[in-house]
Symmetry: C2
């Protein structure tokens, strides 16, 4: 798969550093390794931040603390916190502040998984290879743990520790609430559930659902750096466009993984959408077409960041990673 | 039932206005009518505010809008918005701003009822005389409607329309999140569920559960006026003490109503706590003792507001109403 902007940046930036690597593939590989290292570092820092924020000694009711920790810690790639930290770094915002926003966002992401897995929703027993929250605890506890994580996200963001300017904190809360609420993630979930009632959604319908369900949080993760740094309209616009393209590419790639991987590889059930009668991007594009569309979107995402030049190299690599990942 | 402070205020304030009413009972009755009028006006204004905030045209997914409206509109006494508006009025904060905070608080209160009623939680089919959200819609929709209402509360509060000072908005978000989260309402819910597992809780345990489960939101409703008005430490302290006493009185009165009323009168199932093996204030104080304790707390609540003098007459009347109400 080719990615023109990425290749160009790889050559521009790294012809000095990686002078001995004479072809684009090697340069790309070097950039990918640098990105993966940053992703890992951010994931570790996010884990530490969440571990502190969710310290059991801070809970009036230990069981709710245990259930919230169960679903917030040790989970996933922490792609959203990575985007928060990268957009913050790109615009010169404080890294510790960005980590707090990333942790809050992860609380929202994790609450949504806990509630989605409930018997009344997707009824999943397995999430990332371990029992889902309502299996490990019980349904009532899972509902409350989700509610607790959602609420805590806003407490974290509104706290003075997140930014010393209250206008920044209020803006972060507003945008986070919009991204996760009825015209964002929750609205997307509702449309997604309704889509199970009838087959043959149009491409527009599927894109609308995905933009709300996963795109809105991606969007927040990328503009949050601009909010923290009080960036320009152009910076907000560029990061917003990148987010939109990458979010959709991520979802198409998810549908590709869903048909190409086993439940063991993904750590969760596969082909549930098809079983539920929901249309996927594969139905609309075909497998090869979907892969191409994801690659194109990844490329367009990178193009949107042109104004940042080589400083955005981790975001270029992330856009590529998202469509090439194996889980 | 006697309420010393209330009687004193009634005499002090209204000996001019109600000069023809020569006994305390008549003065009290006049104050009660004035309070009930204010309560009704605030409820109507809150309803209008929520109707606007939850206008169906603003929803990407109509079904989530319908489910959120179903449980947020036309419900209850709106006691919490009343407290927001009264504490705001007492300290000279803008009434429209207070109505927005009251509407947000009502979104939180209503979400908690939707989730509490779910089969995995209290499994109630009836709420205020009509089918609960998951009966009227379905479980998945009820979970999402609760999530949507919770999230929307923070969007409402963080919006510039709530206050032009972002420090006030950030503080409101922080305190609202604390009051409704794992060390507030959600934590109290968890402890309450755990209490069903064993009988014979101590008075301290029951008070802790109630302080978290219902006290925390009462507390927020009363200090929010001081936040909006950027009040003094003394004003925060007085309103906080009033909230604590009134919150506990409210809960004890609830237990009294639970044994003295029929499901038809209350519009919901009664004696569920006793059936679930949970201890109630009646178990610990006896019926007469519980009534006396509620009356004492109501009196202490009023005493805490001494610094506001006659201006707090609606809050004095509210403290009395809470222990004397029939539903």
């Amino acid at each position: 798969m080719s990615n023109r902007v990425f290749d160009k940046i790889a050559i521009d930036v790294h012809k000095q550093t990686y002078i001995r690597q004479t072809n684009t593939d090697q340069l790309n590989e070097a950039l990918k390794m640098s990105f993966l290292e940053t992703l890992k570092t951010t994931a570790d820092e996010t884990e530490k931040m969440l571990d502190d924020l969710l310290a059991l000694k801070n809970f009036s009711a230990p069981r709710i603390g245990e259930a919230m920790r169960y679903s917030a810690l040790g989970q996933g790639k922490r792609l959203r916190p990575f985007f928060v930290c990268e957009s913050a770094r790109l615009l010169g915002a404080d890294h510790q502040n960005a980590l707090r926003v990333g942790a809050a966002l992860e609380c929202i992401h994790c609450y949504s998984l806990v509630h989605d897995d409930l018997p009344a929703m997707d009824d999943d027993d397995l999430r990332r290879g371990k029992p889902t929250n309502h299996i490990a605890f019980d349904e009532a506890t899972a509902i409350l743990a989700g509610d607790g994580l959602l609420t805590y996200a806003f407490e974290i963001v509104a706290d003075e520790l997140t930014h010393d300017n209250p206008a920044v904190r209020a803006k972060l809360v507003l945008e986070l609430a919009k991204a996760s609420g009825h015209n964002g993630m929750v609205g997307g979930q509702m449309l997604d559930l309704e889509a199970e009632q009838h087959t043959g959604q149009s491409l527009e319908e599927i894109i609308k659902i995905q933009n709300l369900k996963t795109g809105a949080l991606f969007h927040f993760s990328l503009i949050s750096g601009a909010i923290l740094a009080q960036g320009t309209v152009e910076q907000f616009g560029a990061l917003g466009t990148y987010a939109e393209k990458v979010g959709l590419a991520f979802q198409i790639a998810d549908d590709v993984l869903d048909v190409e991987s086993s439940p063991e590889e993904l750590g969760k059930a596969t082909q549930k959408d098809a079983d539920a009668g929901k249309s996927t991007f594969i139905d609309l594009y075909g497998l090869a077409g979907a892969k191409q569309r994801a690659a194109d979107l990844s490329n367009e995402a990178c193009e949107a960041l042109a104004l940042f030049g080589a400083k955005a190299e981790n975001l270029y690599a992330a856009a590529r990673f998202i469509v090439e990942r194996k889980k």
